[in-house]
């Protein structure tokens, strides 16, 4: 439906933030989120549509592994 990629807000100027997508940087509109320099955001078509934590932005594999482990425990408890 919609391509959106995570990036880190490097600096802010009014309703715009300079976001670093891991090499490519671009000014995007941040008026739809509460972001400041250092925040991680997910950007679609030049607009930040949500903020996310550092771990969520960078350590996705660990998050999935944790999900699996947690599922394993649910089965044991169920």
């Amino acid at each position: 439906m919609c391509l959106a990629v995570p990036g880190k807000v490097v600096k802010v100027k009014g309703s715009e933030g300079l976001v670093d997508f891991g090499g490519a940087k671009r000014w995007v509109n941040i008026s739809l989120v509460d972001a400041k320099a250092g925040s991680y955001v997910i950007v679609h078509a030049g607009f930040a549509i949500q903020t996310l934590g550092k771990r969520e932005a960078l350590e996705t594999i660990a998050l999935w592994a944790e999900m699996l482990d947690k599922m394993g425990e649910d089965v044991k408890d169920a």
Partner: protein, 357 residues
């Protein structure tokens, strides 16, 4: 730390252990690309899971009428800007690209912000942005409209919302579905609550999924578990981004700029309340009002589907892409007949590219 591949293998093992045969639908062009670009289909079908694409990319669902409207505006002298996705979509008389070849001013932008900047640079020329996309993209159009854009900037609104289309597909009951994979970035805006009613009414499992390959595989595992436990609820796999309430600021901006309207989707009868029209207070920027004269001939035209094109059935998940008689023959990425072959996200374009002739 396990590698991406090890986690994938573990998920496939767990899906197989549940021994469920699953027929799932997703409604997102970017999910379709993730499935095919990472070659997930062979992995998942080995685990008894078959995934069907529903109406999910802004290009696939945009109607020939809307393409003809954008062409008429460009050929009528307006400067038309649009996302790259829309350039090749064929209307009855051609695409935006072919309008450009006939001398029209048609330009690609990455963001509506660039379109507004271009309009400011040439104040004497009327500039129209073709606003396509779902709840993920509509807020950006809303913000642009609500931040007093220049007087020569107009919107041709082709935005649509997802939940009414989901209800329409399930109501039609043409397709037996064991679960729905919900679009992660639409859900980033609308949250997980709008899906709850669907699960309640039809007891169908739903999982909101992200766009990495492991997001999709994890969502399939969650759906398989629900089916094996006889549950039919909404779960959120993409919890690192999607919050139950969604993005409140974005929802507010959308409500302020747009009001629901009935609109046809390609391959569907008109779906009530599934379109987004500009509110009266923004009428000064509504291309359909500003260019009533230029668009009048288009409103009288009717738009039969191209002969033999069954994109509608493919979009409703009733027919697989390669079951279409035109697939790979009269209809190829180079000479697309219907939108499912035109769009990079269209199920036929992707199947053709990644599965070969």
């Amino acid at each position: 730390m396990p590698s991406e591949r090890e986690v994938a293998e573990r998920i496939v093992r767990e899906i197989k252990a549940l021994g469920q045969r699953l027929r799932l639908m997703h409604v997102c062009g970017t999910h379709q690309d993730t499935l095919v670009k990472h070659g997930l289909q062979p992995l998942l079908s080995e685990a008894g899971v078959h995934i069907v694409q529903g109406p999910g990319c802004p290009v696939c669902v945009t109607t020939p009428r809307e393409i003809e409207e954008a062409r008429a505006l460009a050929l009528g002298g307006a400067s038309v800007t649009a996302f790259g996705d829309m350039m090749n979509v064929p209307g009855p008389n051609g695409s935006l690209f072919s309008a450009r070849e006939e001398g029209a001013d048609v330009r690609i932008v990455y963001s509506i912000t660039d379109a507004v900047a271009m309009a400011r640079e040439s104040p004497s020329k009327r500039s129209v942005f073709m606003g396509v996309g779902f709840e993920t993209t509509a807020p950006s159009t809303a913000v642009a409209l609500l931040s007093n854009p220049p007087d020569n900037f107009f919107i041709l609104s082709c935005h649509r919302v997802v939940p009414p289309a989901l209800e329409a597909i399930i109501q039609m009951g043409e397709v037996r579905l064991d679960g729905l994979i919900e679009p992660g970035h639409v859900s980033t805006i609308i949250g997980t609550r709008p899906y709850v009613g669907i699960s309640k009414r039809w007891k169908i499992p739903q999982v909101v999924a992200g766009f990495e390959p492991l997001d999709l595989m994890m969502a399939v595992l969650m759906l398989a578990r629900q089916k094996s436990q006889g549950r039919g609820e909404v779960e959120n796999e993409y919890s690192r981004v999607v919050r139950p309430e969604g993005n409140v600021k974005a929802l507010k901006a959308m409500r302020e700029a747009f009001e629901p309207c009935d609109v046809a989707w390609r391959g569907f009868p008109t779906i009530p309340g599934s379109g987004m029209a500009l509110r009266p207070k923004l009428a000064a920027h509504d291309a359909r009002r500003e260019f009533e004269d230029v668009l009048a001939p288009v409103s009288e035209m009717d738009f039969p589907e191209p002969r033999g094109c069954i994109c509608g059935e493919v979009l409703r998940g009733v027919v697989e892409s390669d079951e279409c008689p035109l697939f790979g023959k009269a209809c190829t990425p180079e000479h697309p007949v219907g939108p499912c072959m035109v769009s990079y996200e269209g199920s036929c374009n992707i199947l053709y590219k990644y599965k070969g002739k």
